[in-house]
Symmetry: C2
Subunit: 357 residues, 2 copies
């Protein structure tokens, strides 16, 4: 059975403003010193596992040219443009329809486009194991990440004890929302919760059975999209289906209701690179703890993230700041206030300064 990958690349994240904009979100940025963009890394690490023609990218219409540019090897027909973003469930139904038309049944790895993985070999091992589990019966597999601290910004996966039938594979008891710090600590101490990384592996047939059961209207859309895939009316059918689809995540729409969900615990140096703060975690810092790119002079300056642009930046006596220079905007933000960057974006929206958003 064919193994395919579906990369979800429609995200519009604001956390890397001013580098990320509505028309150039995080997945297309290079946030590591190797110069590769997040989506290029996502694709490249799959090379030993999936053929290029079996990688499908679901995205927004406006990002298609960027994807062609950054990933010239991906066949154009594998880049699937959603007419409108309706969260992850419709995105997965669309990819499933196209794959189902091409291969009848196949294994689908569903992967975010903007996460970082440090231990790629261990990642591949985990994915191979997940594929094996997904091929069996109608199993749905979700990749959990072994927590290293009580993070309150992620959802968690609560799993049952192993039944020895499949070593390293755990049946999922339930998905839980982002916890408060105290609850997160309990989860961590219990040894029964993993971070929900948003990576899934299943057969097209398995996930569609669950769509039929839990999101029947979307299942109807899936059938229509599959029917028209590759035909002249595909775009029109897509438009009609997406207009009718409810906006719902795969977690809420399917995973919280489905049976036969298994999780594998990934320990492959996963990082969701959730904000500018992540850059000092995922990159090498200088002897003063600064992560610096571009033309920057630092004097008596410690523990900052400084992303220079075309100008010289002189940083004097700074501590715990994020500095980002782009062609039209400069962000200077204390590390304790990164969540307030969205207030800047709100302000820009209110003032109708769309060129900055």
């Amino acid at each position: 059975m064919k193994v395919t990958a579906v990369i979800m690349a429609g995200g519009r994240g604001e956390r890397f403003w001013p580098k990320s904009r509505n028309d150039f979100p995080k997945q297309f940025l290079s946030l590591t010193s190797d110069g590769e963009t997040m989506i290029q890394k996502t694709i490249n690490r799959l090379a030993p596992l999936v053929a290029t023609e079996d990688i499908f990218i679901v995205t927004n219409e406006s990002y298609v040219p960027i994807i062609h540019q950054q990933l010239p090897d991906i066949p154009k027909e594998n880049i699937l443009a959603e007419p409108v973003a309706k969260n992850t469930a419709p995105c997965i139904a669309l990819a499933a329809a196209v794959i189902n038309k091409k291969y009848e049944d196949a294994v689908m790895m569903v992967l975010p486009s903007d996460h970082l993985i440090k231990y790629e070999e261990m990642y591949l091992d985990t994915m191979r194991h997940a594929i094996k589990v997904a091929k069996k019966d109608d199993n749905l597999v979700t990749i959990g990440i072994t927590p290293t601290y009580p993070e309150t910004g992620y959802g968690y996966i609560n799993f049952f004890s192993n039944d020895d039938e499949m070593p390293g594979v755990y049946k999922v008891k339930k998905f839980v929302e982002k916890p408060c710090l105290e609850t997160a600590k309990e989860y961590l101490n219990s040894g029964k919760y993993l971070w929900n990384s948003g990576m899934f592996v299943w057969k097209v047939s398995s996930i569609m059975k669950n769509f039929e059961m839990h999101l029947p209207a979307m299942y109807e859309g899936f059938l229509k999209m599959k029917e028209s895939a590759g035909n002249a009316d595909f775009t029109a059918v897509l438009e009609k289906c997406f207009n009718e689809f409810e906006s719902v995540s795969i977690d809420f729409g399917i995973m919280e209701k489905a049976e036969n969900i298994y999780t594998l615990s990934g320990s492959f140096g996963w990082d969701d690179v959730g904000s500018w703060l992540a850059l000092e975690r995922i990159n090498k810092t200088d002897e003063c703890g600064n992560y610096v790119t571009g033309d920057v002079i630092t004097i008596n300056t410690r523990n900052n993230v400084i992303c220079g642009g075309k100008k010289l930046i002189a940083a004097v006596g700074l501590e715990d700041l994020i500095v980002v220079d782009t062609d039209d905007a400069i962000l200077i933000c204390s590390k304790d206030n990164t969540q307030d960057v969205k207030k800047v974006i709100e302000n820009l929206r209110i003032c109708n300064r769309r060129e900055f958003v």
Copy 2:
């Protein structure tokens, strides 16, 4: 007797880097919200006191075009270009030579080009009084500033008690160098010390008598420059004289040795605008204590100086920083470290990045 003003505009200050550069120093910058440059302010406030044709500007050859541009009303022949900067004594000798040739004797007010004065009417009153004192005998007058705090960055003027002959005028006992904090506090508490503002008033004849006595070689130069002033060989004579002049300040070369020095205590809101920190002192700040110019969004940001350029600046969670954006460089500096900006400039010099210095 004619009253003339000599504006010393050769300074190359680095304290307003990156806005001030070697080829565009502080006196040519606008640092207040009214848009006037420091030298324009200096000239404009003299209007009730001195005719435009009696204002002389001593500067560096390379600044002559900027002065023409910023002060189009000053006659070109009144802009005196020093072939090489040799501190204030040669600068004053040059101006005295030109004025002496034009008017035989005259009162000379010698004034820095880059200081700020808030109470201009009181300033004019003080200068009128100083002119009166300078006309009498061979008095040399220095304008002292009544200290408001124990500043360690200025020289001080120690004066004798008033002898009731000239009310508000004090004979100078001695000039003292920049003190340590403890000494500065003693000066302040004694009531016998004023800040040395670098503003002087005297007759050409009085100061030249002192040059003859204390800097005789420079006096010879003065005679030669006077002789050639207005003639074809003036530039050549200037070049020769300046090459031979020792580099010495008027304070050290004359004032510390001369007799008949009087000081008037100025209380006219003088500010030497010595660093970026001065901007929040001399300008109106917002309700959070920020002095902001340009396109800046502040969120949860207090007590900063933010001078925007052409880009949007988003300041999030900042406190006590200096931020300056120019076309090719950005400075971000904590208020406690403004003195380290010169390390940036040193670094740029060492790396031979002259375009930034």
